[in-house]
């Protein structure tokens, strides 16, 4: 009897062992968990794009469709001569720039489906936090285009999450993104006139949006000596070059948008 029992045991063990072996021989893939992002205001585009790449090829699950086979447009390779996604995103939908197109694609995928594909993509807001979505957009833009995602986009999370150290090694910053308060606090109005009042050391803030587009305003704040406005040559070099360190990205964007809006 014991001989039979042992034989039965041996058969069971061999069968179980065989199945276990088969499962070990095939490629071992572990499904990753998306890392919890907590983007503070002063993240660099590179860091944002790098975080986005991890989401894209990892836990976001994007490559399951985008990148293999024909379920969805391949984003990292050239498609039909239009270039990679960063190069083609701006011209996909008329009247929509790259950033808003990508945001719409991720949050309301059914709004525009690339011809030849089916409407199968889920709303990514159910899977990813807002800052993760923006990081992914930054990554996609970095594929052949320029990263224009900034802290103002994921405005809700500009403040460091409770429990995490605020902006690790950054300089002490006030959190306000209220532009007028910032212009006063950072001493801008000491040289630039606003609402028709103020000293004429730098160009007036009034109508600045008419003279300069937003990116040039941003450049002028970060690199004040790169260009000098006509008529202010004598004051060239007066403006401090430290605003890049003094402002968080959210604050910088707040100022830039505010100034660009002054027409």
């Amino acid at each position: 009897m014991w001989r039979t029992n042992l034989k039965v045991l041996a058969v069971a063990l061999i069968v179980i062992g065989f199945y276990t072996m088969v499962a070990h021989v095939i490629p071992q893939l572990q499904s990753e968990v998306p890392e919890a992002l907590a983007l503070t205001g002063d993240v660099t585009p590179e860091a944002l794009a790098a975080a986005g790449e991890r989401i894209y090829s990892g836990a976001g699950g994007c490559v399951a469709c985008h990148g293999l086979g024909t379920r969805a447009p391949n984003l990292v390779t050239d498609q039909g001569g239009e270039g990679t996604i960063g190069a083609r995103c701006g011209s996909r939908r008329p009247g929509m720039d790259c950033k808003s197109y990508l945001y719409e694609s991720m949050t309301n995928p059914g709004a525009f489906v690339v011809p030849g594909f089916e409407n199968i993509m889920p709303d990514m807001r159910r899977q990813l936090a807002d800052d993760q979505i923006w990081a992914t957009i930054a990554y996609l833009q970095s594929l052949g285009g320029e990263v224009t995602v900034t802290a103002s986009d994921y405005g809700t999370s500009t403040e460091a999450p409770t429990g995490a150290a605020p902006a690790a090694a950054g300089p002490a910053l006030t959190a306000t993104t209220e532009p007028l308060a910032l212009l006063r606090e950072k001493g801008c109005v000491g040289c630039h006139a606003i609402d028709g009042a103020g000293p004429p050391i730098g160009p007036s803030f009034d109508g600045m949006g008419r003279r300069l587009p937003a990116d040039q305003i941003r450049r002028a704040i970060l690199l004040p000596n790169a260009d000098t406005a006509k008529g202010y040559e004598q004051f060239a070099g007066t403006m401090p070059q430290t605003f890049g360190q003094m402002l968080s990205a959210a604050q910088l964007e707040a100022i830039v948008q505010f100034l660009a809006g002054r027409r």
Binding site: T20, H24, Q28, Q30, L39, M121, A168
Partner: protein, 576 residues
């Protein structure tokens, strides 16, 4: 702007979540503990839900056909149930404790939504237990006349309770897989609504899939029990009885198993409908290799089942005339298995990759796609059905006048079904994917139509057939019994694997897209690690089942003093 990389892992946040949300279990970790408790509980549950189904059917055959043999068989099945029932409850309790202590946050979420159904569940469990005790211990008391029918009603009731209990439990886990679309991470659990949560997208498909799966599983385990007792049998009568019981178990397991893929197909479609990404993760993404392992297991199942039938033909007079065909059926099965187990993306060394110019082989590529696999599976099902048919027909000589015509029609049905399956299999390569998916439905319908049509003809054909000699029950080589063990082990392992697939496609979510798993074990393990866990669960389950089998023998000996000498009455027909 600033060179401070403001990218922080919200480690503190996650740690805060984890601290309140998860417990710690030594050694195998919290996930391991819950995994084992849940899987072993599920295996026992499948057993105690599957066995009553055919215990009741066997009893009915016994009553209607006035055949003592079936009644004995039914009672023997039920005896296994009594022990297995407490094991199910024990493991269920263990699972409950593990969930409340190791996953308190998640448990609170589930309990808030499902509290009322949980109470009903516990109540039904009580009622079910008492029904079972009445059913088993009342067997000899209510043995004749109207009382027997009342007793049979108890068995039916047992099934009803069991099915409701399973449906309730299924609603919890299908809610985890496919919460209703209105539920998001922000929804308060109290606002979800009980019925809304229960009637989610995958609830019914899982219910049906499990109902069938349980019958398959119960049959396989009973087959293994019979094999165990057959090998231990001391008298020819005992051997004859358990040989017959093993045959019935195998018959139930395989005949219900043939329907299982269709239920699985429905479940898969519902998953795709619910969320494309989930479906793709399951079939083409992270889980795609799992289906190769599944193909290996199912290949083993088909071959073992057919092998059992073929060796069994040695005890049927008249079966010799079919012997030459078995090797061709075997060839078909082996070729189909090879096709089915061919991977699409092939593991190869650098030199081989260079020679192939990628990881797809120019020819094997053709076999690796769904078209080929569907064709292979359908042909395997047809072949297995043919084995059954031959087995059934082996010792009979039809006496009806139209026997010859009927056989020709049956042959034609097989040929047509195989032709349809092959045609759509090959034609699938020449059409778009979207059209091809529809073809699998035609293939399945052809096979089902063939099975139903041929069976109906056969029932009338063998009515009043002459016998070529009695089946010599018990004259079975010992090695055939090992095929039954392999079947049972494989079914158990397959259940563990499919459980991993079902649970794993949620990935890092407790409740898909509603409640995130923030524990240290959130990542879904690779197949190798999962296989270790599955094997461990299977070993625990089979170890306990072996103990129960042994108890079954013990109780019997104590009850009867002498070994049961079950008289096997002359049996003109193979048990069906």
């Amino acid at each position: 702007m600033t060179d401070v990389v403001g990218l922080l892992q919200a480690a503190a946040q996650a740690a805060a979540d984890t601290a309140g949300g998860y417990g710690h279990f030594p050694g195998i970790g919290a996930r391991g503990a819950v995994w084992i408790a849940a899987e072993v509980h599920l295996m026992f549950a499948a057993f105690v839900l599957g066995v009553p189904m055919f215990a009741v059917i066997c009893e009915l055959i016994g009553i209607v056909g006035k055949d003592e043999k079936y009644d004995k068989l039914s009672k023997e099945f039920t005896r296994l149930l009594v022990f297995a029932y407490s094991a199910t409850a024990l493991w269920g309790g263990l699972l409950l404790f593990f969930l409340t202590t190791l996953y308190p946050r998640f448990w609170t979420h589930m309990a808030t939504i499902f509290s009322r159904s949980m109470w009903v569940y516990a109540g039904l469990f009580f009622i079910e237990s008492f029904t079972l005790y009445l059913y088993y211990y009342g067997w000899d008391r209510w043995k004749v006349g109207r009382a027997k029918w009342g007793h049979w009603g108890l068995g039916l009731l047992l099934n009803v309770w069991g099915t409701i209990v399973m449906f309730i439990a299924n609603s919890w886990l299908t809610y985890m897989m496919s919460p209703p679309s209105g539920v998001t991470a922000e929804t308060l659990p109290a606002e979800v609504g009980l019925w809304n949560a229960i009637a989610n997208a995958t609830w019914m498909p899982i219910n049906i899939h499990r109902l069938i799966g349980n019958a398959v599983f119960g049959g396989a385990i009973c087959g293994a029990y019979a094999a165990f007792r057959f090998l231990a049998a001391k008298t020819p009568e005992e051997r004859a009885h358990y040989d017959w019981m093993g045959y019935v178990g195998n018959f139930i397991a395989i005949s219900t198993f043939i329907v299982l893929p269709f239920a699985g197909y429905w479940l898969g479609r519902e998953i795709y409908e619910y969320n494309q990404q989930m479906g793709i993760t399951m079939m083409g993404g992270f889980m795609s290799w799992l289906w190769i392992v599944q193909a290996v297991l199912i290949g083993v199942l088909f071959l073992a089942a057919n092998y059992y039938l073929w060796t069994g033909m040695g005890r049927i007079p008249g079966a010799e005339r079919f012997a030459p065909y078995t090797k061709w059926m075997l060839l078909v099965l082996v070729i189909c298995w090879i096709v089915w187990a061919t991977p699409h993306t092939i593991i190869a060394t650098r030199e081989e990759l260079a020679a192939m110019g990628g990881s797809h082989h120019p020819f094997l590529n053709v076999l690796g796609v769904m078209s080929a696999k569907n064709t292979a599976v359908n042909l395997m099902i047809l072949t297995t059905f043919l084995s059954f048919l031959i087995y059934r027909r082996a010792n009979r000589r039809p006496t009806v006048a139209w026997a010859r015509t009927a056989t020709i029609i049956q042959t034609a049905m097989f040929a047509i079904a195989a032709g349809v399956v092959l045609f759509y299999g090959v034609y699938g390569y020449f059409v778009e994917a979207i059209v091809r998916i529809g073809f699998s439905v035609y293939q399945v319908l052809a096979v089902l139509a063939c099975i139903i049509g041929v069976s109906i003809i056969d029932v009338f054909l063998v009515r009043g057939a002459e016998s070529r000699g009695e089946i010599r029950w018990g004259m079975m080589p010992a090695r055939s019994q090992y095929a039954l063990f392999i079947l049972a082990v494989t079914f158990t392992w397959l259940m563990g694997l499919m459980g991993f697939a079902r649970s794993g496609i949620r990935q890092h979510w407790h409740v898909y897209e509603v409640m995130r798993d923030t524990s240290a074990d959130a990542a879904t393990p690779a197949l190798g690690e999962a296989a270790n866990m599955i094997s461990l669960c299977v070993l625990i389950f089979l170890g306990l089942v072996a103990f129960i089998f042994w108890l079954g023998g013990l109780a019997e000996r104590a009850g009867h003093k002498a070994p049961v000498a079950l008289a096997v009455p002359p049996q003109p027909a193979a048990g069906d």
